[in-house]
């Protein structure tokens, strides 16, 4: 326990990131107890009220209580991010191991697809996919759409990491002692990769949230869900900025900033765990 505290004192980024996200979780948790999330639906309250004691975050033009929208919408946005992030890293890890461990044609194919896929602007491909799905997306479909590209980056980075691990002595020894390929992957490579995988996962979640918000702002999101991105879509749709309804965009902006900062600092912290060499230079 003392050791943990001493370590956390050095790894400030991890602490800052965790505190930000915990704050957000607390906001959601307490919010669900205090606020009626039904008010996140349109026509629930008086429209366009600036923040007051009754509506601390104000209300929007369609009569949603923005506090309720945030309480109900933040977990939706996080859910999209986590589903897509986990799927992306899961698929990416499998592909990366196959490519890096067996090399050969599998490697050329997987690396080729990942490299080409990464040079293409992801948002545009997602737009084509989303536009092709009739009747608009649900929150879960949204997550799947985003996940369809979320594996590219994990595949690429994990592959490189596995390749460097593969050359280490203990893998060689395991191979010579007759361990099978999958066994080496699970018992020898995996444990060494865990901090790295964690950092990649957080990165993927952050990327997925960014992509989903992008799609939503463009009007391709779940129209009736109060996610953070959809709220910003309505902000833009109603020209809230020019009309001076500052509270409408302030709340979702603040929460998105907290989400991204939190995830970013956690990645930095996890990177420090994965590559202790960086600790000195930081």
């Amino acid at each position: 326990m003392n050791g943990l505290i001493r370590y956390l004192k050095r790894n400030v980024s991890l602490v800052v990131g965790s505190v930000l996200l915990l704050f957000l979780l607390a906001f959601i948790g307490i919010g669900h107890m205090v606020v009626d999330v039904e008010d996140a639906r349109a026509l629930s309250v008086r429209p366009l009220q600036p923040p007051s004691a009754q509506y601390p975050f104000g209300t929007d033009r369609q009569g949603r209580d923005l506090l309720a929208v945030m309480v109900a919408g933040t977990p939706l946005t996080l859910r999209i991010g986590f589903i897509a992030g986990f799927l992306g890293v899961g698929i990416g890890t499998v592909l990366a191991f196959v490519a890096a461990y067996y090399r050969g044609w599998a490697d050329i194919l997987i690396r080729g697809i990942a490299d080409i896929g990464l040079t293409v602007p992801g948002l545009l491909v997602l737009i084509i996919i989303a536009v092709g799905i009739p009747g608009g997306l649900s929150v879960n479909q949204m997550a799947l759409v985003v996940a369809s590209l979320a594996w590219l980056n994990p595949t690429r980075t994990i592959r490189a990491q596995v390749l460097s691990l593969r050359e280490r002595g203990y893998v060689e020894i395991a191979r010579m002692s007759g361990m099978s390929g999958p066994a080496i992957i699970f018992f020898e490579l995996m444990p060494n990769l865990l901090p790295y995988l964690a950092a990649t996962l957080v990165n993927a979640v952050s990327g997925a949230i960014l992509a989903s918000i992008g799609l939503e702002v463009l009007g391709l999101g779940p129209i009736d869900a109060p996610t953070l991105g959809m709220t910003l879509y309505w902000v833009n749709f109603n020209a809230a900025m020019i009309n001076g309804w500052w509270w409408w965009w302030l709340a979702p902006t603040a929460i998105i900033v907290i989400v991204f900062l939190g995830l970013f600092f956690i990645t930095v912290g996890l990177d420090e765990i994965a590559n202790p060499r960086l600790r000195k230079s930081a």
Partner: protein
């Protein structure tokens, strides 16, 4: 050896072009129904003074992409169109062609993105190099936290904040559009200044975020490079600090930065699309936004294809220029 590399790299580019066209063709069909046909028929029912043209489009579409034709024939005629740069008419803005509308808005985006990407890359790289240099002024260390924080925020969110502060509250800069309303675009100094004033906020929201990213990665590369043996020997040669900094550290640390730039173009563009949308900037992003709102499938497909190909081209150029900077590369490969 070099020729093979160039051919290989060009091959990758054509694969990207082909993939973009193929995805464009097949993805909308995955849902089982043809959203293009649906939209076309809707538009035809709406009527209006362009009715005849729309009816014409439906007919042409049915002949070429009708259900009675096998998929591969449809695919081939689509690829043929794409190769000729023919993306059909805009469904919502008939009789304007998609190619026309794209040609009109793409210079705006190239201008905005070219300037911001270049500026942020140069500023960020220099800043990152200085952050890693032990002889840099002390106060520079204080730049790190804000750079980190900015780097983590999406472009368009910073855009919203800047818009509120600088355009709505202070009214320093215009809030919306690419040039003042009611002005016809011309080549006078006043108009150019007007364009610059309008582009400042969108540009600023991209630059401030991107600078942080480039600075952070450059700082990391510099720290690694400064530990290299040739830097130690350069010091042993009694070279000036400035020589070591520029010719031995910066010169080498910039190589991975440029590789990263080639990889990041897609992300930067994705972010810039949203910035254009919130600022109503008349570039390709806003055009795309309108196309999505109006369900204008031909326009969406045309934009996506054009953007992917242009970016592929930019990456190709960067990749082909790279060996000029790194003498090792032509020998290392193959």
């Amino acid at each position: 050896m070099l020729l093979i590399d160039i051919l290989k790299r060009c091959g990758v580019f054509f694969v990207i072009v082909w993939l973009a066209a193929t995805l464009n063709f097949f993805l909308p069909k995955l849902s089982g129904q043809d959203p293009v046909r649906t939209k076309l028929l809707q538009q035809a029912q709406l009527g209006g003074y362009v009715q005849q043209g729309i009816d014409e489009m439906v007919k042409v579409y049915e002949v070429r992409f009708g259900l009675d034709r096998p998929l591969w024939q449809q695919y081939l005629s689509y690829i043929g169109d794409v190769v000729r740069g023919d993306f059909n008419f805009s469904i919502a803005n008939y009789p304007r062609t998609v190619a026309d509308m794209i040609a009109e808005s793409i210079p705006w985006t190239i201008g905005l993105l070219g300037v911001t990407t270049l500026l942020s890359f140069v500023i960020g790289t220099i800043l990152g190099a200085l952050l890693a240099w032990p002889r840099a002024p002390r106060w520079m260390a204080w730049l790190m936290p804000p750079l980190w924080a900015l780097h983590a925020i999406p472009f368009f969110l910073l855009g919203l904040i800047l818009m509120y502060l600088l355009a709505f509250q202070v009214q320093l800069l215009p809030i919306f559009g690419g040039y003042s309303m009611g002005v016809t675009p011309n080549l006078t100094l006043t108009f150019i200044l007007d364009i610059i004033r309008h582009a400042t906020l969108p540009a600023l929201s991209i630059i401030l975020v991107a600078v942080g990213g480039w600075a952070l990665s450059m700082r990391g590369m510099m720290v690694t490079t400064m530990g290299e043996d040739y830097v130690l020997f350069a010091e042993g040669k009694g070279l000036r600090s400035l020589t070591i900094f520029t010719r031995y550290c910066l010169r080498n640390a910039i190589l991975p930065q440029i590789t990263a730039l080639a990889l990041a173009l897609g992300q930067i563009l994705s972010g810039a699309v949203l910035v254009e949308v919130i600022f109503g900037y008349p570039g390709i992003g806003t055009l795309l936004f309108q196309a999505i709102r109006e369900n204008d499938h031909f326009l969406i497909q045309g934009i996506v294809f054009t953007v992917i190909v242009s970016l592929g081209l930019a990456t190709l150029v960067l990749d082909l220029l790279y060996p000029l900077l790194d003498p090792r590369i032509t020998y290392k490969r193959t």
